[in-house]
């Protein structure tokens, strides 16, 4: 038996369609998670002790249990409470909720990184809380949250492979199916690793470019 990736590469159109599903689920999950995570972090910071405690507990549960188990519960347990979801919507919701929990922690740290005095200065000048968040806190934390946010996006890309177990036709599901059909499982897994790695590398590049751009913008012309 020979190691022959060719038999997998022949199936390029199928791989591309799996890749497409992975990419859009991942991007939607990250964007949704960023938005929801920011809302959660903001609500926890300004919403009082009760809101903070309730949301904090939800975040702890989501961070404290494996994504695999969350997805299982949502997909196979959902029907017991009347929640019937097709694989793709289920995967999208699961990924978004999971990433929101982690992104909320990133933004929580982001809020904490802005010195309280900067917020007090804004308050003294009559800015509303919304103006202070949008004009002072978010731009100030941007440079600090960007690296962990990109890192988290990379982790989520790889976690999205878990969605193959609830039959979402994403990259891992597609390529391992091809591997079984072609009796070339090892080759399939090998190709899979390379494709994920390429996306991770591209994401990192993009992230570093954004970081450079942001810090140049901030400390540019003298």
């Amino acid at each position: 038996m020979m190691f022959d990736p060719q038999v997998i590469i022949e199936k390029l159109p199928e791989i591309a369609s799996g890749l497409f599903v992975t990419l859009w689920l991942w991007i939607a999950g990250v964007l949704g998670g960023v938005v929801a995570g920011f809302v959660v972090a903001t609500a926890r910071r300004f919403g009082g002790t009760l809101v903070n405690a309730v949301l904090g507990a939800v975040v702890e549960v989501l961070r404290g249990t494996p994504f695999l188990i969350q997805i299982f519960l949502l997909y196979y347990g959902g029907p017991f409470v009347g929640l019937m979801l097709d694989p793709i919507p289920c995967g999208l919701i699961g990924l978004t909720v999971y990433s929101a929990a982690y992104y909320s922690e990133v933004f929580r740290a982001g809020y904490a990184s802005v010195p309280i005095g900067h917020v007090e200065a804004a308050a003294c000048l009559g800015m509303t809380r919304f103006q202070t968040i949008s004009r002072i806190q978010v731009p100030e934390m941007a440079l600090i949250v960007l690296p962990p946010a990109i890192n988290l996006a990379v982790i989520l890309l790889k976690e999205s492979a878990v969605l193959s177990i609830i039959t979402v036709p994403e990259l891992t599901a597609t390529v391992s199916a091809i591997g079984s059909q072609q009796y070339a499982f090892l080759e399939a897994i090998f190709i899979l690793a390379i494709v994920y790695w390429i996306i991770v590398e591209l994401t990192d590049r993009l992230g570093r470019m954004a970081e450079n751009r942001l810090s140049r913008l901030r400390f540019s012309k003298a």
Partner: protein, 263 residues
């Protein structure tokens, strides 16, 4: 007698069980420089932060030009929180300068000074920047308008912070130990800007350890100790001998810090 710029009545501030300010009564006249002095932990910074509404007093009342700040308290001690937009309006009648400058690092000097004009007063960008430039000129930094805070010295940062606080043209300026975070050789430029403001007739409340500045520029000196206002009056009276023993003891620690002229 006109309305005082600031009137503080029976102000009490507690943090949990600790009483930080106890029954403070003080009037700050318009156009005067009022200095709050006292040892660390005496409550002088907390009092100033109450005036900026950065701390909410436990009881008592503060009025700014006759308008209640944050809370309204009637003669029976019934206290009512005022609506948020009213609080914001009264707050912008004072400008606050912090010990740590607190400039926003993602904005240039000009951006820092023009920001509140743009988003609080809704002044168009060009006009806001023009007015911000006027303030920067006042503190001698018009040639640093495009610099970010990280590119400025501590003294320059504090002067930008003063320009920022002046941008909304407040009637009263509050200073919380404005030179305590600066090297001795940089304090002079900040104190000079403050002297200029004082000679323009700005009402100023200054928490300071610069006893020399308090004695020479201050027109009202208030001495706090353990959360109580021990006494308040013109410097000639306060610093004249014989002094209150607590003040004497306090000044002893300052003899080599610019107060030697008072010895």
């Amino acid at each position: 007698m006109s309305v005082p710029a600031i009137a503080i009545r029976k102000l009490v501030k507690r943090f949990g069980e600790t009483t930080v300010l106890q029954d403070i009564d003080l009037e700050i006249p318009e156009g005067k420089v009022s200095c709050l002095i006292g040892p660390s932990g005496s409550g002088k910074s907390t009092l100033l932060r109450c005036l900026a509404f950065l701390e909410e007093a436990t009881s008592g009342m503060i009025t700014i030009n006759g308008e209640a700040l944050g809370f309204f308290e009637d003669a029976n001690g019934r206290r009512e929180r005022l609506p948020a937009n009213q609080i914001r309006t009264v707050r912008t009648k004072t400008g606050m300068v912090f010990q740590q400058f607190n400039l926003w690092p993602h904005m240039t000097a000009l951006g820092n000074v023009s920001e509140a004009l743009k988003i609080v007063r809704k002044v168009p960008k060009a006009e806001a920047e023009e007015r911000a430039m006027t303030q920067l000129r006042k503190v001698g930094l018009e040639n640093r308008a495009g610099h970010y805070p990280s590119q400025l010295s501590g003294g320059q940062q504090q002067r930008v912070a003063i320009a920022r606080a002046l941008a909304l043209e407040p009637k009263i300026m509050l200073f919380d130990e404005p030179t305590s975070a600066l090297d001795p050789e940089l304090t002079g430029e900040v104190l000079n800007v403050m002297r200029d403001l004082a000679s323009d007739g700005m009402t100023m409340v200054v928490v300071t350890h610069e006893i020399g500045f308090a004695a020479s520029v201050g027109q009202q000196i208030s001495f706090l100790d353990h959360g109580r206002l021990l006494f308040s009056g013109p410097p000639a009276e306060i610093f004249a001998k014989p002094r209150h023993p607590r003040l004497e003891q306090f000044l002893d620690t300052y003899l080599d810090r610019g107060a030697s002229m008072l010895a």
